[in-house]
Subunit: 199 residues, 2 copies
Amino acid sequence: MAAKENPRPGGRSARVQASVHQAVRELLVDMDRADVTIPLIAAKAGVTPSTIYRRWGDLQELLADVAVERLRPDMQPIDTGSGRSDLEAWAEQYAEEMSSGVGREIIRDVLAAQDNANAAKCCAFTREQVELLSERALARGESFPPVDSVMDQVVAPIIYRILFGDEPTAERVRGLVSGVMAKDAAVTPPPPASERKSA
Amino acid sequence: MAAKENPRPGGRSARVQASVHQAVRELLVDMDRADVTIPLIAAKAGVTPSTIYRRWGDLQELLADVAVERLRPDMQPIDTGSGRSDLEAWAEQYAEEMSSGVGREIIRDVLAAQDNANAAKCCAFTREQVELLSERALARGESFPPVDSVMDQVVAPIIYRILFGDEPTAERVRGLVSGVMAKDAAVTPPPPASERKSA
DNA sequence: CCACTAAAAGCAAATAATTTGCGTTAACAG
DNA sequence: CTGTTAACGCAAATTATTTGCTTTTAGTGG
């Protein structure tokens, strides 16, 4: 049971949550993850440890809660003109962010928690980004592989390699993209095309 | 720093390790993971807690150490007659084992540890199995996709889905296999073929 | 605007886990 | 067989976690 979304969204409760989250983020900047403890976080956030224990349960849940926020995409994928190069650009940036030291730790924090709601959420964030790319491409009248295929054949391999100790290079990422474009573009040829203007 | 491979393989040290591992496995059978503690394990294993702390560092490392052993393949992939159906059979079984409750927990334990040597090891186990399938197929004179492709396009999506909260169905697994066979079989057409008999 | 209610926070005592110093055991080398 | 040292056991010291109770305060209805 991680922190609920909005048990009491007003005032104090929200302030405590924000303060604790910020304390965690700040501590993680210049400390090893293994040295971060709940009493430490509590002291820095100006709350009592029992508040954190009652609300988050344990350190892993708290870290997962903080981590998932950092995984929330902060901007739209850049528009490069074509679906394929949009996907390439997005995937390369995604791989780079995720394979950085910070990225790896964030992923690990999300996955280490008992509660996998956070993991699902983080996966959903990624999927939304891919859906956005897809919609953009289809709106242009281009073909684009099914979102599931992109998740399976581009996102999954990137994350798998990161988790299991290997770093995906930009070149390899391009290879993944090229694989999914080659295979599934044929499966989904220009569908409805433009659906609002030329009706 | 997880337990070293063989710091002093003889007698006592090995006995302690075996005893601790077994205690962990037994406890995990009928307890929630969140309730398993090091003092508990120590008591069951008949060692003092400080021994465990000194050797493994913390609970997560110990769990990861135990988990990776359970991930070691215990048998050869079954031989069904063709590379494709071998891969299909293997992948389905792999997906099933990994997506069971136990399987998920094991994967999580491996990934949650700071030390990612265990994760790498577990990935290597899987890769070895795939390599075995590949060698078998090539020895038969069949084509078979590159091992990396299978890891990226079959293994990675299975694990990704499991980790992020979604269960890969047998049908989907077959789809993944069929994807990798279709795409990469062409890239690797019957190579050396049979290399020992007809030379 | 003023109670009322209950969720969330604070505080402090009790319990449990972790760390650490030091003496002991036992694997391995010579 | 003896010396050396890694690994273990024990127990005290430290630190983290849980818990009962009190206080604060957001949300609600008079």
